[in-house]
């Protein structure tokens, strides 16, 4: 159901990355997403980066809709519907959370839900220092938070997957959660297989209805909006289209 609400707070989370907190509560599981309508512009899927009495999203500017979202001010009207999707299924034991860029948005809610700073570790990666988000939030709920940047401007220089691989070799994890660009997810899946750790990955595809009807978001027959966005490593391994292609607005296959 569309909730018509207003922006309560706008926070700059990083360079070109904005958090919007709504004047609306939302009960959701970590990893779920909402469809966000900017009247007159577009409606796009966004993971919830804040859950509870004031729900919120964290937006990276990449095109028209995300630019319009980034420009919103407190008091502006928006519509949200959801939450949709399945979210993370947290198990017992030690969890390694891996977030690439704005992929940290759904990851941080899982880190917070883990509820024990000793059992959850976090690997945050981004292109450069400005795009590292939620480091402080992560440190307040985890004893082991490590950072990488592609250009070495902060933390380790390198990819977040190689950091995650190192962490898996240092310590035994029972579950890895990952969200980031598809190439990141692809290499993370491989690293998890090499280290024999089960994983769950949050995937992205073009969404129109967001509600499991239209089929625009399917990857190998599974709807990212309704059957995902979080899939198990085994599910992802069986997807012939994963890491290779996606569907455009007309449903035509395009190379990633």
């Amino acid at each position: 159901m569309l909730i018509e609400t207003r922006v309560r707070e706008r926070i700059e989370a990083g360079k070109g990355i904005t958090t919007l907190v709504f004047d609306a509560p939302m009960e959701a599981r970590p990893g779920q997403f909402v469809m966000v309508w900017v009247p007159g512009v577009d409606e796009v899927p966004m993971s919830l980066s804040h859950i509870g009495p004031h729900a919120g999203i964290t937006v990276k500017e990449v095109g028209e809709a995300t630019k319009a979202l980034s420009c919103l001010r407190p008091g502006d009207v928006i519509g949200i519907r959801g939450p949709y999707g399945n979210g993370w299924r947290l198990s017992g034991g030690r969890i390694l959370c891996v977030g690439g860029g704005v992929g940290m948005a759904p990851i941080i809610t899982a880190v917070e839900a883990a509820g024990d700073p000793g059992r959850v570790a976090v690997a945050i990666g981004a292109r450069n220092h400005g795009e590292i988000i939620f480091e402080e939030r992560a440190r307040s709920v985890s004893n082991d938070v490590r950072i990488t940047t592609d250009d070495g401007s902060y933390g380790l220089k390198g990819t977040v997957v190689s950091l995650a691989d190192t962490m898996m070799k240092e310590k035994r994890y029972d579950l890895v959660l990952g969200c980031g660009p598809e190439v990141m997810n692809k290499f993370l899946l491989k690293a998890c297989k090499d280290n024999e750790v089960p994983c769950q990955l949050s995937l992205e595809r073009l969404m129109k209805c967001g509600a499991g009807l239209c089929g625009s978001c399917v990857i190998d027959g599974l709807r990212v909006c309704a059957d995902g966005p979080v899939f198990t490593g085994e599910q992802v391994e069986r997807m012939a289209e994963f890491g290779k292609c996606k569907r455009d607005d007309a449903g035509l296959r395009v190379k990633l």
Partner: protein, 303 residues
Amino acid sequence: MTTLEVDLAGIKLRNPTILASGVMGETGESLLKVAEAGAGGLVTKSIGLEPRKGYPNPTLVELPDGYINAMGLPGPGIEAFAEEMEVALRSRVPIIGSLFAAIPEDFTTLAGKMEDYGAAAVELNLSCPHAKGYGMEVGIDPDAVRSIVSSVKGAVGIPVMAKLTPNTHRLVEVARAVEAAGGDAIVAVNTVKAMAISVEARRPILYNRTGGLSGPAIKGVGLRCVYELHEAVALPIVGVGGIERSGDVLEYMMAGASAVQVGSAVGRKGLAVFREITDGLMSYMGAHDLGDLREIVGVAHAH
């Protein structure tokens, strides 16, 4: 023996539930998933001659008892759809190719391709309420419908079904035109033209402003249309609109439907809805000592 099998214009369905057009029907793999979930037949997304992006978002409004959608007929076009059909056919469940066009010649071209691709039947979308120049805009004119159906009938060997709109007072006339033109079945109904407005933003929500209402909100409309059509034509009727439980299917069949289609319930209840419905039908048949669903088609007309 109790059987859920039905014969629809010569097509054998393992059960009377068919996936409605436009829901998970754009890709071969997603159609396979619906077959695995238990559907007796599958209708593809309505396919046109060229690739089409459809409308920008918002394309869907969710209501307590349904949806309003204005997708704008997105799709890859008939050429690219060949590979999706190839995959969908692996389901071994009859695939009905839904088609949209503005003129008889284009419908004929599309239907010929669908037949070549292995479709068990074609369904002509004469009823989409939100695409300029297509769907309902041609489907409320009995003469236009007659020429489309007869030209497609002349071009293909597979059954031709016409999907009608409830957004007209000429429903029965249009159905008679389908029958006169040699159509093999009628599918009723497509969505009901509707809209939603955001009072905070003070504007229509859908990009296209208006769209089509579906789900339980329109069950009463669909049921009434099927009931009227059963009295007016001898063609088999496929009932669509708001079906999410076995009781809904039974109502539609008693009104005169030989089979049904399920659309919105896939979003509202998930793919498990097909199995839930067929299980429910089996128990009803058991409890009422029914061997074959044909025994109940149209029974409500006796009163």
